[in-house]
Amino acid sequence: MLNFFRKNKEQVAEINTDTEPVILTVEKGKTLLNAALRSGIGWPHKCKVGSCGTCKCLILSGQIKPQIDFSYVLSPKDIADGYVLACQSELKSDIKVDVKLIKKLGDKK
């Protein structure tokens, strides 16, 4: 029952589960990048409007809701492999995602 309510409000993203996992809560209507930056996670980014591709990441499991057509920035192979733009992705379910972070919450540098 509790999970039912949580599902409508927020989803969980597990970042880099194979190396140094970080757990991130993403509110409904917020993008993956915005949630990460608000939590102090050093997610690489530049334009935040879906045009530069800097925030590209690999979805390992789960589903996202794209806000734009990624094919203007990502190659067909990237899209087929599961890459998305974090700045234009809301979460439809809990996900596992790979991205090369600049810094993590709690890092000194």
């Binding site: 993008t31 915005n34 530049k46 334009c47 935040k48 409007v49 879906g50 045009s51 530069c52 806000q67 734009i68 094919s71 203007y72 920035v73 190659s75 067909p76 700045c87 234009q88």
Partner: protein
């Protein structure tokens, strides 16, 4: 406070409706859109020294109500369509030789028939307020859901549907660099910029579609080609004006599109004139000019807070704030008048650009500015 913060952005919607009513009422009232534009220029100039920060509650959240602002922005699409319809109706009356006489429709008085002079007034009023529709086309271009589509339709009413893609994928990425046609380099005037920026953005949008479709193995002659589809969205306006006024109707539509696109490109011109960014550097506050006096902010739904907008492109207009970006110190209306006289504008902007070179630019950006100076272009 919450009501005030949201209601103050209704200047354009209310003025657009007044303009529509004026054209419907006929006679001298067809000029009301021009009159309002002139009046607002005076108000903007008189309030040039009043600058406000974005208001926030105790939790640091904006007072803006997203649902309300989006309803207003979506509402502007039928308003701008109605603006074209009422002008087309006047064109039909003129070309049909309808006698000029007082009439009543559903209890509303209006003047049936129209003189050529007042038809010019109606066309200019329509052109100016259709041009101001770009502020909604711009804001909605940053909403990637249904708002993006509404943005395309609003821009299509001015024959500029390509703007929505070019603005996001070109202007926001290449700002301040020669790859961005919407950034005006030093020495260019607003008239030349209008043509170069419009054509450059359209070409970018075409190239973007061509590359996307090539990657997908599709022909460029496809309904998946957003550049083509965007121009198809403009066809109803073309048919409406030709049907209602023949050659004169087409001339009126060309006039409306010319003025509205001139206003669009004038905003681009003013937003980044002469500012330079090294291609390897990210877009920062210093790469935009702010125009944030009180009237400009409310009228143009904060589009003048360009410094903040270009760094936080995903931010709603009512949350944008003063971030210490370079500032013209006057509003868009006043500055627009200056840009119409290129020599005057360049004299005005010279000290501002000198200050930017000295206090904001990086070494690489100063080096590029110096190349302009070697060519005799100081501003």
């Amino acid at each position: 406070m919450k009501l005030f913060v949201n209601a103050r952005y209704l200047i354009v919607p209310i003025s657009s409706l007044v303009t529509i009513y004026g054209i419907f009422a006929g006679g001298i009232y067809t000029w009301i859109g021009v009159f309002l534009f002139g009046t607002y220029t005076i108000i903007d100039t008189l309030t040039k020294n009043i600058h406000l920060r974005a208001e926030k509650d105790q939790n640091g959240d904006s007072f803006g109500i997203k649902e309300f602002q989006y309803v207003v922005m979506y509402f502007m699409l039928p308003v701008f369509i109605l603006l074209q319809i009422v002008l087309a109706w006047r064109l039909f009356q003129f070309t049909s030789g309808v006698i000029i006489e007082p009439s009543v429709l559903s209890g509303i008085n209006f003047q049936s028939g129209i003189t050529l002079t007042n038809l010019v007034g109606a066309t200019l009023s329509t052109a100016l307020w259709a041009g101001l529709g770009i502020i909604y086309g711009h804001e909605l271009s940053h909403n990637k859901k249904e708002g993006f589509f509404v943005s395309r339709l609003i821009m299509a009413l001015s024959g500029a549907s390509h703007f929505t893609y070019a603005h996001v994928y070109n202007h926001h990425l290449d700002l301040g660099h020669e790859d961005d046609p919407a950034t005006a380099p030093r020495g260019r005037n607003v008239y030349t910029h209008t043509w170069l920026s419009h054509a450059g953005q359209s070409k970018f949008s075409y190239d973007l579609e061509q590359e996307k479709l090539a990657n997908q193995g599709k022909s460029i002659f496809s309904f998946d080609n957003k550049w083509i589809v965007g121009y198809l969205y403009s066809l109803p306006s073309v048919f409406l004006f030709i049907w209602s006024g023949g050659a004169l109707g087409l001339l009126a539509l060309i006039s409306v599109w010319s003025v509205s696109n001139f206003l669009l490109e004038a905003l681009n011109f003013m937003g980044h004139y002469g500012l330079i960014r090294s291609p390897e550097k990210p877009v920062e506050h210093r790469h935009s000019w702010d125009n944030d006096n009180v009237f400009t902010s409310w009228f143009f739904i904060e589009i003048g807070r360009q410094g903040d907008h270009h760094v936080r492109g995903e931010t709603y207009f009512w949350e944008l704030d003063d971030v210490g970006a370079p500032n013209y110190g006057i509003g868009y209306f006043s500055l627009f008048v200056l840009t119409l006289i290129p020599s005057l504008f360049r004299r005005f902007v010279r000290t501002l650009l000198d200050d930017w070179d000295k206090n904001h630019a990086t070494e690489q950006e100063v080096a590029i500015a110096n190349k302009f100076k070697e060519l005799g272009i100081r501003s």
